[in-house]
């Protein structure tokens, strides 16, 4: 692959100071001068500068990958710093693109970082992917993963995939000329809500370091054309058991992307993944919300409402609201008989997603006086009581 792209563009020369900077690479026969020139001439598109993108960006820049395209629309949040090592405390509130560019430039000014302050979507994905030799998927949602995959298949660019959740991760290389793609592994995404996001379920901070560096390693190998890439294999990382193993990923002849090739253009990935387009547009029933200030006023007035915390028990020690009882979403169905249809029920969680789910369960069970606390504990802390920690 590298040779393919390399042959279309002449390999750049190294400048004098680059010999010293990349000296340890030049000493490796598998890299050498030609390999380092290949890295310098390479164009890599990184989708996301978060948990996975942080180590990927740092090591690709350090290794001398000459052109790094970076797609990122988010801003640095304090809760990112536990794992997103590309950004620092001073960067909280800044666009991730800006802090990533600063950090990568400081690490290696020889590398050109081209930022795209946008969400990767069906209108920009193909053009961006085609303008690079390969793509590294460091996104955090299913819709963008299918989009990235399909754009890579359509454009004929390898997709270096990684994903993480809690203590476990996966990595592979998809969409090479001969190999399978992400759709061969997972033909369809789970329905929204079945798999919690890292923001809801948590993630061990060092895990994206492990998985991201597997991706960075695969990128460097692909660019150099050395070793055995993770094509047709899925690496499973279990950080708790500290076990790494690979299983086979077969190219599916029925795959609409890389098999039958009936997929000729990018589709609506939010729709494919069942993400509601806007409030009320999805299948999900609307849920009445109550604002923190309103809830606080009702509690202060002694309103006998049933205040219910739907978070998991281990989250209680982090933050709690006074007077609430616990009914975790994970076992919510079993708790429904404990609710009194004659009382107003206010459900809350960390950010408002889980409480809305619980509210829908109660509505389905016939309850009508149900509210979800808008913004959850996070907004309660902002609007009512800053001594309640946000997390």
């Amino acid at each position: 692959m590298a040779a393919e792209n390399g042959s279309a563009r002449p390999l750049p020369e190294l400048s004098g100071d680059e010999y010293l900077r990349y000296g340890r690479h030049l000493l490796l026969p598998e890299v050498g001068l030609e390999g380092q020139r290949r890295l310098k001439g390479a164009r890599v598109l990184m989708v996301g500068a978060g948990g996975l993108g942080s180590p990927i960006g740092l090591y690709l820049a350090a290794a001398g990958v000459g052109h790094i395209g970076l797609v990122e629309f988010d801003a640095v949040d304090e809760s990112n710093l536990q794992r997103q090592v590309l950004h620092g405390t001073k960067d909280v509130g800044r666009p991730k693109l800006d802090s990533a560019r600063d950090r990568l430039r400081d690490l290696n000014p020889k590398v050109h970082v081209e930022g795209y302050a946008a969400r990767l979507d069906r209108t920009n994905a193909l053009e961006l992917v085609k303008a690079h030799d390969l793509v590294v998927d460091g996104t955090d949602n299913f819709a963008t993963r299918y989009l990235t995959n399909d754009a890579c298949v359509l454009a004929g660019r390898p997709n270096v995939y990684g994903s993480i959740f809690r203590f476990e991760g996966q990595a592979s290389v998809f969409a090479t000329a001969e190999g399978p793609c992400y759709r061969c592994l997972y033909p369809e995404p789970p329905p929204p809500g079945l798999v919690p996001s890292c923001a809801e379920g948590g993630v061990l901070g060092v895990l994206p370091g492990l998985v991201g560096l597997v991706q960075a390693t695969e990128v460097v190998k692909l660019l150099l054309g050395v070793g055995e890439p993770l094509v047709g294999r899925l690496l499973l990382v279990d950080a708790l058991g500290m076990r790494f193993r690979t299983v086979k990923v077969r190219k599916d002849p029925r795959c609409p992307a890389c098999g039958t090739r009936e997929l000729r253009e990018l589709v609506d990935y939010d729709q494919f993944c069942g993400v509601p387009q806007a409030a009320g547009a999805g299948d999900e029933a609307p849920v009445a919300e109550i604002l923190p200030a309103e809830l606080e006023a009702r509690l202060r007035a002694g309103d006998p409402l049933d205040l219910v915390d739907v978070r998991e028990p281990h989250e209680l020690e982090i933050a709690r609201l006074p007077g609430a009882r616990l009914a975790p979403l994970s076992a919510f169905d079993a708790a429904i008989p404990t609710f009194d249809a004659g009382r107003d029920v206010v459900l809350f969680c960390k950010g408002g997603v889980r409480s809305a789910k619980a509210a829908r369960k109660l509505q389905k069970a016939g309850f009508t006086r149900v509210w979800s606390l808008a913004g959850g504990i996070t907004r309660w802390s902002d609007d009512v009581d800053p001594t309640v920690p946000k997390y």
Partner: protein, 91 residues
């Protein structure tokens, strides 16, 4: 006919906190049925209401994707290892 089923940590809490389980059956579907009979909370995470596999949970029998060997109809033998790999998207 014991087969070892390896669950990811995220599903182990629905299976008594253990990731490795012994189960029996002549097909992958029977092995899954045997396991979820002991851990009913696990059932909706491994198969749909009709008892079929999901497109977002991949089962491996000895490192081979069972989708290419008949899905839940895939034959399993004594000593085989089944690995369950649900789709995850965090990054």
């Amino acid at each position: 006919m014991p087969v070892t089923v390896n669950l990811p940590a995220v599903l182990s809490r629905l299976a008594g906190g253990k990731t490795a389980h012994e189960a029996s059956g002549a097909t992958l579907g029977e092995v899954v049925a045997d396991l979820v009979a002991r851990f009913p909370d696990l059932a909706p995470r491994l198969r749909d209401a009709a008892g079929n596999p999901y497109p977002f949970v991949t089962f491996y029998v000895n490192d081979e994707d069972a989708r290419f060997a008949g899905g839940f109809g895939a034959a399993v033998r004594d000593g085989d290892e089944v690995i369950v790999v649900p789709a995850i998207a965090g990054g």
